[in-house]
């Protein structure tokens, strides 16, 4: 087997000239230097301020009732469910990158999996707020769970909302475990580097006695691989189940068998867009261009392009089936979306989710971080619009025209939504501050010429 010519080799997934020590220093120092750059304070400040907005709007909501939102009859679900699906979708990329790409032995996943997983967890946390808050009587949320009780009542297992509870909580648990297991060697590194007792205690506790012995590494690898295998079906199942919330429903615009695959593709699409949205500024802020290289960005752009096309296919098939099925209600809804009251939303969605991302076909765009960042932001907006279209327009125009109605989001709808962005940013910045945002030990495996060694040789 001869060496491939340089031009055919993929770009390296780590910048040149890095050693074990430099990698460790570069990544760990973000955490343990103790001082954060100005932009961290700005970002954290903004996120924390928005988090307060979330708290205020949640308190007001609980005080007054969900009537403070714009939901009504017939649109019983509004921003809350849109945001739930949006956040859950964003939460997909993490596990996909960590688990599926690990199993597929895509080495470029290494530098982005850690914060993508963190992103997943935080996005799921944000998503999890909405099913709770949107309930009329959220203090009884636990009735959705099967637990022994004096009522002698189980949840109603035919309801997709019960499936949601299981799917989302399982996903959250598996993602958290996966993330935590992956963190253990790095936590040990931080423990060893920690300058004070508090740091040593906290990181030491979390590292669970990791000493880097061969048996540790062996068990780690097995556990990690098993968890990856466990998490992989969850990537598909979570959004499939979320899509059942709609697909099981009888409402035109919801009742479609294409929803599960199209939701999963959409979720990956949204997830990668969000990873790009986060990765581009972070690598620039912390100077991590060597670790999150142009190749990473390009690969993510390609995944976005591919999943974006699946999503576009989903839109097309949804429209085609609405026409082809000759069902009057589905066809009428399509008409409302294409040419009627919701045409502006629909065509805006097509523009941002289908047309604009096609620029990713051009290598120049994939190479430009600015352009990529813009496209990713556009897709973030687009995926939100998609959920708006699905949730709101379907409910607005169902079977009996007498009950058709409009939905107008209130200030509290927006405050809650923006508030969860605050929650997300706050958690994200705290994560960057206290945990290595790139996997140190996995990066070290990428140092050219020595992929077998464990531990640095130049220290």
């Amino acid at each position: 087997m001869s060496e491939a010519p340089d031009v055919l080799k993929p770009d390296p997934v780590i910048g040149p000239g890095h050693s074990y020590g430099s990698i460790t220093e570069k990544i760990a120092s973000i955490v343990d230097t103790g001082r954060q750059p100005k932009f961290w304070w700005v970002g954290f400040g903004v996120g924390f301020a928005l988090l307060q907005l979330f708290l205020v709007s949640a308190v007001w909501l609980l005080w007054k009732g969900v009537g403070v939102w714009g939901i009504n009859n017939p649109v019983g679900w509004g921003f809350a469910i849109i945001n739930l699906v949006w956040w859950i979708g964003i939460g997909h990329a993490g596990t996909l990158i960590s688990a599926i790409l690990l199993l597929l032995r895509q080495d470029w996943r290494t530098s982005i999996n850690r914060f993508a997983e963190a992103m997943t967890l935080f996005a799921v946390a944000c998503a999890g707020m909405f099913p709770l808050l949107h309930m009329g009587r959220p203090w009884f949320f636990y009735w959705l769970m099967p637990y022994p009780n004096t009522f002698g009542m189980w949840p109603q297992f035919r309801s997709p909302l019960v499936w949601d509870v299981f799917a989302i909580s399982t996903y959250a648990l598996a993602s958290a475990l996966f993330w935590f297991i992956g963190l253990i060697p790095d936590l040990a590194t931080l423990r060893d580097r920690a300058g004070d007792r508090v740091g040593r205690f906290i990181y030491g506790t979390l590292a669970m006695g990791w000493r880097g012995s061969a048996i540790h590494w062996y068990r780690y690898e097995v556990a990690y691989l098993l968890l990856a295998g466990l998490a992989t079906p969850l990537v598909v199942s979570v959004h499939t189940v979320v899509s059942f919330d709609f697909a099981i429903g009888i409402i035109p615009g919801w009742h479609a068998t294409i929803f599960p695959p199209y939701f999963v593709a959409g979720a990956i699409y949204a997830g990668f867009a969000m990873v790009l949205t986060l990765a581009i500024p972070i690598r620039w802020m912390y100077g991590l261009q060597d670790f999150i290289t142009a190749r990473h960005l390009r690969n993510m752009a390609k995944v976005m392009l591919a999943t974006g096309l699946i999503v576009a296919y989903g839109y097309m098939m949804e429209a085609f089936m609405a026409w082809y099925s000759a069902g009057p209600y589905e066809a009428a809804l399509l008409d409302h979306r294409l040419f009627g009251a919701f045409a502006h939303i629909f065509w805006a969605l097509i523009a941002v989710n289908v047309v604009i991302p096609q620029v990713l076909w051009f290598p120049q765009v994939r190479r430009s971080t600015t352009a990529l960042f813009c496209v990713a932001m556009v897709v973030n907006v687009g995926m939100w619009l998609e959920r708006y279209l699905i949730v709101v327009t379907s409910l607005s125009r169902d079977f009996l025209p007498s009950s058709w109605g409009e939905y107008h989001a209130t200030g509290w709808d927006w405050a809650t939504f923006i508030g969860t962005i605050g929650l997300f940013l706050t958690l994200m910045f705290l994560f960057v501050r206290v945990l290595p945002l790139i996997s140190i030990f996995e990066m070290r495996t990428l140092v050219p010429g020595d992929s077998k060694g464990r531990g640095g040789s130049d220290e």
Partner: protein
């Protein structure tokens, strides 16, 4: 328990105790705070009798039950003005009173003076619901929105509660001494000629007798009557036709063809509830009975009558007379003086067809003139009915039902003239609100200034109360004794169910004071009047051997038997037709009509009526200037644009509502809104159309100018979309096709059977409840909506929430238009929960809060509901209603708690609710049957909507009972399930609407196919 004995030296200690307590504490008496031994003893022993059982673990559960019950009762007591000591457990339980079981009393409700008998449901002394009295001829058990909602007025927290003098709280004794002095002074000065009574329409024999007595005692006293929506036109029309003001009574039970000349026979005409019922019987078809009366409507403002009509023509109100003349001419009615040709909207072909049809059914036809149409049209209608041989068959005449017959406008004008001349020393306004609703040109308010002493008796401190020196609170009809006549003259009894909540007095009591009569209490006044009638032999001895027995009997029945006014023979006068009045100008016409929900303004503070969607416009909480699409386009305005309206120098600003079916060049301004002084509910709703309404054009006038103001005003409609979009929602068929073939043309869809589901079908071993709604007889009146609201403790949510689509009605009446956008056809469809056998809501509820009952009911378990709203989203009929906010929060208006039906759970915030098929009524019927040791039979269970429906369009019963009415309805060829193609298998089914078109009127402009709609 008069325990407020705290001595002054204890007060300081009490304050200290209160100050030191944490948080908000509720205390019942000063002794409680003081924890005096008496109070502790009282707590333990006196009221919650078993309170000491708390220490006994075995009966702790029992204690909790009692505690809950006594807390509920304590809450109830706090709401009345009864003194606390009366609320103790019965020592001697009243006969017939079983706690938890309601009692029903017969009484009467009158609108515009015309009584409708009703049965009032009373739970432990609280009236909670009104139903029609099956023994009363004006009701036969049915009711309408006004009747249903009138109970809310009893508990209206904004009702006036105190006697006021110049706006300040005064005493009843103060009023008594004032009125006594004033009456004596004026009697001494000029024989009482300065004393004037102003009442609304009075039909009460007892009140009339009292007024006569007063006038006999003080001969100068004069009595004026004014009601803004009065029957002057009918009276003057009869006067013109027959030379005397007879009352017209129709018999819709014998009609084959009806021509409505701008008459809303289902709402406006006295006796409309009865007429609706009788006419529905003539229009109800079945496989075995393929006969159907035909209804033609020539009307201006679209009403439910036009909406239910087989043919409807829209003409301006001022042009209706020309149409009537053309029909009369076509029929060859003698003594007809000329005609002027047909107005826009009516063609000769139609006139000929109507005339032919009426002629062909002579003796079984009926021409009904509109209440707002001029006397000449009423005379024309009398002549038409005469000519068609309808007199004695479908039309009879009686003496007037209302006392003091005469033109109310003349009466009011006379009063105003006398007031302006300074001839009135003492004006006593009993009921009514002339300052608000008198014709604008009379300037009643200014005239009132010339009266030295003005007394107003009313239920509210309204515009008139504001300008009167004295205001006396008036009782609600459920608090007072009285009597009244129904549309046919039947005397109906009014008896109280509760002590006056607000300490009011009845009109009888006020008149007794004016006349210084011997009896001062309502009961004794009314009873002694009837005693006199008994003594004079005016009461049948069949009622009982003694007066007391007869009295109890008529109170029990609610009606005085055989008190119907006898029919009169009348003959047309020779010159009955004066020819058509001056040609209406070409200007824009303005029509004034009583609002379909707040009427003339008297119901402005009634939340149920405010929130009941108006049958045609579906507007709530506001009136609007109704204008046709073409005219709106010509004027350059659209719905919710505010326009400045000017008529003869008087102006008002009103929002526009574009209404298909309104005649072009004509604006309808519903009356009753824009009240300046009303309660919390009515404040700030609508605009005041009375400000344009002058005595020269009480019902319509030409020459309105409309100016756009560039402003917008939000209106809250419950239905945004008015077309069926070509969907198979309301099936409309051709009656002739049905008569020939037994079926109608409709889109054929596959309706999945019970086996076409993943889930096994339910078995219904016992009962299997179902409902059938006959769209052919449904008139869209929304009586069911209000009845359901009353029965099921449904809250009102207010305009903003309605505008946001959050109204809570469990049953709604959808109104669709099809055909031409300017002149559409109208269909109505009441929609409530369908109780699907394969319910989409049940499978999606994550907590099993909506479940399938063993008898087919889709049951909502409020306590289990967590409020995900998934069920509402997944309901194809969108009949589920969510408590988005705390709608039933009576902290500020605790009196409203008294109104609640104790058999129906009051729902909290965050909970879904919907039609329950009145499950509480099913359960009561089941219990009764069990107690009586028998099976439930068809008709035992009557839902609230079914009971109220004046057209009897709703059938309810057990589908497993092959002989039941509902089972029969299921076998009708016209029966269909709404959206049944979805596989929901709804238990509420519909019977298709039929149009009985006149075959000679070619169907070219009739749109039977639902597909063909452009609205």
């Amino acid at each position: 328990m008069n325990m407020q004995r705290a001595k002054s030296n204890e007060l300081a200690e009490l304050r200290a105790r209160l100050a030191s307590s944490q948080g908000k504490q509720y205390w019942r008496s000063l002794d409680e705070i003081a924890e005096t031994p008496e109070f502790v003893e009282y707590l333990q022993r006196e009221f919650p009798e078993q309170a000491s059982e708390l220490n006994d673990p075995v009966s702790r559960r029992r204690f909790m039950q009692l505690m809950g019950a006594s807390l509920a009762l304590a809450g109830a007591t706090a709401c009345t003005n009864r003194s606390v000591e009366k609320i103790v457990p019965y020592v001697h339980q009243p006969e017939n009173l079983i706690p938890g079981r309601p009692l029903y009393y017969a009484t009467s409700f009158a609108l515009g003076g015309y009584a409708v008998g009703l049965l009032a449901e009373s739970h432990m002394g609280r009236p909670t619901k009104l139903e029609g009295n099956p023994e009363h001829p004006a009701s036969l058990g049915s009711s309408d929105s006004f009747l249903q909602a009138s109970i809310l007025a009893l508990y209206d927290p904004d009702r006036s509660q105190v006697v006021r003098h110049n706006g300040r709280i005064a005493t009843w004794d103060g009023f008594l001494s004032m009125i006594g002095t004033a009456m004596a002074a004026t009697e001494a000065a000029d024989g009482g000629s300065g004393v004037r009574l102003l009442t609304q329409t009075v039909t009460s024999p007892t009140l009339v007798g009292q007024i006569s007595e007063l006038q006999a005692k003080i001969p100068g006293v004069r009595w004026h009557q004014w009601e803004p929506v009065n029957r002057d036109n009918a009276f003057a029309g009869a006067l013109a036709a027959f030379g005397e003001g007879v009352e017209t009574r129709y018999d819709f039970g014998a009609v084959d063809v009806v021509l409505s000349l701008d008459a809303d026979i289902y709402t406006d005409v006295p006796g409309s509830i009865r007429y609706t019922r009788d006419f529905a019987a003539r229009r109800r078809v079945s496989d075995d009975h393929r006969e159907m009366a035909r209804l033609y409507a020539v009307e201006s403002t679209p009403t439910i009558t036009g909406g239910s009509a087989d043919h409807r023509w829209r003409v301006r109100a001022c042009d209706v007379e020309a149409v009537a003349r053309a029909i009369a001419a076509e029929l060859g009615v003698p003594s007809l003086v000329g005609g002027q040709g047909l107005p826009a909207g009516m063609d000769h072909e139609a006139v000929v067809a109507i005339a032919e049809d009426l002629r062909a059914h002579g003796g079984h036809s009926l021409v009904v003139p509109g209440e707002g149409q001029p006397p000449a049209l009423h005379a024309l209608a009398h002549a038409l009915n005469h000519h068609l041989g309808n007199i004695g068959a479908t039309v009879v005449y009686t003496d007037p039902v209302a006392a003091n017959a005469g033109l109310q406008l003349d009466s009011l004008q006379e009063l105003v003239a006398d007031m302006n001349a300074g001839d009135v020393d003492l004006l006593v306004v009993i009921g009514g609100n002339p300052v608000y609703d008198a014709p604008a040109d009379l300037d009643f308010a200014a005239a009132l200034d010339n009266v030295p002493t003005r007394v107003h008796m009313g239920t509210h401190e309204d515009e008139t109360a504001e300008l009167c020196h004295w205001h006396v609170p008036e009782t609600h009809f459920l608090e007072a004794w009285s009597d009244a006549r129904a549309y046919d003259g039947t005397i109906s009894m009014v008896q109280p169910l509760i002590e006056p909540l607000r300490g009011g007095r009845s009109a009888h009591e006020l008149l007794a004071i004016l006349a210084s009569g011997p009896e001062r209490e309502g009961e004794r006044i009314v009873k002694s009047a009837w005693q006199r009638r008994w003594d004079n032999g005016e009461l049948s001895r069949d009622l009982g051997e003694t007066f007391d027995k007869a009295w109890r009997r008529i109170l029990h029945d609610g009606v005085v038997p055989d008190s119907q006014l006898p029919t009169r023979e009348v003959a047309l006068t020779a010159g009955w037709d004066q020819g058509q009045a001056a040609t209406p100008g070409d200007g824009i016409e303005v029509i004034f009509r009583a609002d379909p929900t707040v009427w003339d303004g008297r119901f402005a503070n009634n939340g149920w009526l405010q929130e009941t969607p108006k049958p045609i416009t579906k507007l709530t909480w506001d009136n609007a200037a109704l204008v046709s699409p073409a005219t709106a386009e010509r004027l350059g305005v659209t719905s919710e644009d505010v326009v400045a309206l000017e008529l003869d120098g008087r102006t008002v600003r009103a929002p526009i509502w574009v209404l298909p079916g309104q005649p072009d060049n004509s604006l309808t301004l519903p009356l009753g809104y824009g009240r300046r002084r009303t309660g919390r509910v009515g404040a700030g709703t609508g605009f005041d159309a009375y400000r344009l309404r002058a005595s020269g054009g009480l019902h319509f006038a030409v020459g309105l100018s409309v100016e756009s103001t560039g402003r917008r005003y939000q209106l809250a409609s419950t239905q945004m979309h008015n077309s069926m979009e070509g969907r198979d929602i309301v099936r409309v068929g051709d009656f002739h096709e049905f008569r020939e073939t037994g079926e109608i043309h409709h889109p054929h869809t596959h309706v999945p059977g019970p086996d076409e589901s993943l889930f096994p079908p339910y078995e219904y071993a016992g009962h299997s409840w179902g409902m059938s709604i006959d769209l052919n007889t449904c008139i869209g009146c929304t009586g069911c909506v209000t009845a359901c609201q009353a029965e099921n403790n449904i809250p009102i949510v207010g305009k903003d929430e309605v505008a946001n689509g959050r109204e809570m009605h469990w049953i709604r009446v959808d109104r669709y238009w099809s055909g031409d956008v300017d002149d559409p056809e109208t269909v109505f469809q009441p929609v409530a929960c369908m109780h699907c056998d394969n319910a989409p809501c049940e499978v999606v509820c994550p907590v099993a809060a909506t479940v399938h009952g063993s008898e087919g009911l889709n049951e909502m378990v409020y306590n289990r509901c967590v409020g995900t709203r998934y069920c509402a989203n997944n309901c194809p009929y969108k009949v589920r209603r969510f408590n988005f906010l705390s709608y039933t929060d009576y902290d500020e208006t605790p009196v409203m708690r008294l109104l609640q039906n104790p058999d129906v759970t009051v729902r909290s915030r965050g909970v879904m609710e919907k039609c329950s098929y009145c499950v509480q009524r099913i359960n009561v019927a089941r219990q009764d049957a069990k107690v009586e040791g028998r099976e439930l039979v068809d008709g035992d269970v009557v839902t609230a909507c079914q009971q109220a429906c004046p057209a009897q369009a709703i059938a309810f019963g057990d589908l497993n009972d092959a002989d039941s009415a509902i089972a029969a309805a299921r076998k009708e060829p016209l029966h269909y399930g709404l959206l049944a193609e979805l596989g929901t298998r709804p238990r509420t089914n519909y019977l298709a609407r039929l149009r009985n078109l006149n075959p000679t009127l070619s169907a070219d402009d009739q749109h039977l196919d639902a597909e063909d709609d452009h609205v």
